[in-house]
């Protein structure tokens, strides 16, 4: 899952990026409204965390711009303005959720998870395909009774595949949602990661879940 953090206060942006990355999200930062509008159009983000008081283009303007372009990306607003009018204005401009500063990081993470879940219309709790289980809160992954250790990127890749289970995901989709801005799409990094992941979750003995669609991408599917 790839997130755009729009925040003019560098230190806030920096700890948000760090904290979110440690939760296996791919994170990009924009430091003003103009940059945010450009980036949200150029890349396919799964969620935007948006500060309201921004230089150049105000956060509410960014939100209007995003909605005017027909983008349905979930937006979590984070701002020091906490009057009821501000909250109402923010939500009416197209925001999906609202957090006031100073916020508790754990709460921010929970709201991010909730927004992503809602985006995919998924029920809360674990993701499940056949006997493969992924818990987005604890980041625990199991195949049957067997617990599986994954690296951050492998986890993010698996989560993305599981959220799009039974649908073909292209390499471009993977690169856009699992990697951040600095990813070089010309490399075969994705294939390498998919192979690592396959070795861990599809041991020889078990039924295979990750399938390659030649020339297109991959699909996670229970073909039992």
């Amino acid at each position: 899952m790839r997130i755009l953090v729009v925040e003019d206060e560098k230190k806030v942006a920096s700890f948000l990026k760090k904290g979110l990355e440690e939760e296996y999200y791919a994170v990009d930062c924009a430091y003003d409204g103009e940059e945010a509008l450009f980036m949200v159009e150029a890349n396919d983000y799964d969620l935007m965390i948006l500060d309201i008081m921004l230089p150049k283009v105000d956060g509410l303007e960014v939100l209007k711009g995003v909605r005017d372009k027909g983008l349905t990306i979930p937006v979590l607003m984070v701002t020091a303005k906490d009057s009821v009018e501000d909250v109402v204005r923010g939500l009416d401009a197209g925001g999906d959720d609202y957090l006031t500063k100073p916020f508790i990081f754990a709460e921010l993470l929970a709201r991010v998870r909730a927004l992503l879940r809602r985006k995919e219309r998924e029920p809360a709790g674990e993701l499940r395909v056949a006997d493969l289980v992924l818990d987005p809160v604890t980041h625990m992954v199991r195949r049957g009774e067997q617990e599986i250790e994954l690296t951050a990127k492998e986890y993010a890749l698996l989560e993305y595949l599981m959220r799009h289970a039974n649908r073909v995901v292209t390499r471009t989709m993977i690169s856009e949602h699992v990697w951040d801005y600095h990813f070089d799409p010309m490399t075969n990094v994705i294939d390498v990661y998919v192979n690592h992941l396959r070795k861990k979750i599809d041991p020889d003995s078990a039924q295979r879940l990750i399938h390659t669609i030649r020339g297109v991408g991959y699909v996670l599917q229970d073909r039992g």
Partner: protein, 472 residues
Amino acid sequence: MILFKTIKFKMTLWYVVILGIILSCFSLFLYFTLADSLYKGVDNKIRTMAEIVVSSARSPFGGGAGIADLDQVMTERFGVRPLGRFIQILDESGRIGDRSTNLRDVQIPISVQTLKAASRGATTFETVQVMGKYSLRVVTMPIQENGKMAGVVQVGSSLEGVEEALQQLLLILLIAVPAALLVASAGGLFLANKVLKPVDAITQIARRIGSGDLSQRIRIKRVNDELGRLAATFNEMIAKLEKSFRQVKRFTADASHELKTPLTILRGEVEVGLKRKRGLKEYQRILGSNLEEIGRMSRIVEGLLTLSRADMGELTMEREELELSAIAREVWEDLQMLAKEKRIQLKFMDNGFTKVEGDPLLLRQLILNITENGLKYTRAGGEVALKVKGDRDQGMVRLFVTDTGVGIPQKDLKRIFDRFFRVDTARSRETGGTGLGLSISQWIAHAHEGRIAVESKVGKGSTFTVTLPMKD
């Protein structure tokens, strides 16, 4: 009842009471003057008639041999028989001699006292009741012959007409005065209502304003009357209140925002930092950053405290004679290190007599604030000049701080001294600014009866000028 306590009611009451007193006085005066004049008229008429009768009684034609036929005398004299006048002639002992025909069986009474007075030659007027019912005004006049009383003439006139007229008048007054008062009170209430209606409107608006809606204004119809002026004054007051409320609200919002940002950083960095085990370097970085934010918060709190004390007039200020150039030189020396670090040339010049009266610590802070500000917004290789100049002719000491920095856009110049106003929010934060320095500087200048002004060109630099009164 609330009604009885309203000005409307009191005004009407006063009005009616005063009008009542005036009308009553007028009525009494009218009644008694008229009564007096009517009675006097009757008296004059009967006296005249009595005189005629007396003279005719004495006349050689009718006199001597008793009294001639009165009716005839009257007819001769007046052409008509006097109606409603009763004439009676008595001899010196009080026996009735002759009487006018209309008296017939009635007789005008005469008292011993009156008779005695007549014998002394005096004329008496009296009112008597005839047949117990009708009032009769009677004049008793002696007929004198050779200095002796020969008889008495009594002329009476009925007071019926007079009394009827007076009764009529009394009736009219008794009906008319209360009626007039009733109409007057209704009219008074109407007028008071009309006059006081704008006051009610003002009260209603004031109540709405009291409940927190300061955008309300009174609609003024007539500008130049008393209530129009009251409403205008009231509106002005509300406008001022609204403005200062808005300022306070914005200031509070700004202050909370300013404090929330470092709090967010502190809380977020610590929370993310504690989520897992990290290396020593990482902990050091987090703690260092936290320390920075704590410093920023303390500076904001300190600045806010200074300003709020200044606002409340609680900041005690020393007043001593001092050389402004000496303080400026100290600041210049203190900031040399910082300037060198940023590779900015910091210059100092002073010229002439720069004695002012004031608080050395506050003035030092003022100079430090604007000089540091200059250093903050000037790039490496630039120059900041600190210049103190005395002007004896104008009695002013001026301090100029000129930088070759980024400059301030024209539209922001007016707001540069506003609390928490920043031309470039991000840059100011990075350089550790609180957004309060220039507000405090302005307050210090004003507290010393001085001014602070700024001129600037984007890309060229800015000049802050502080003007203080010179101490002779």
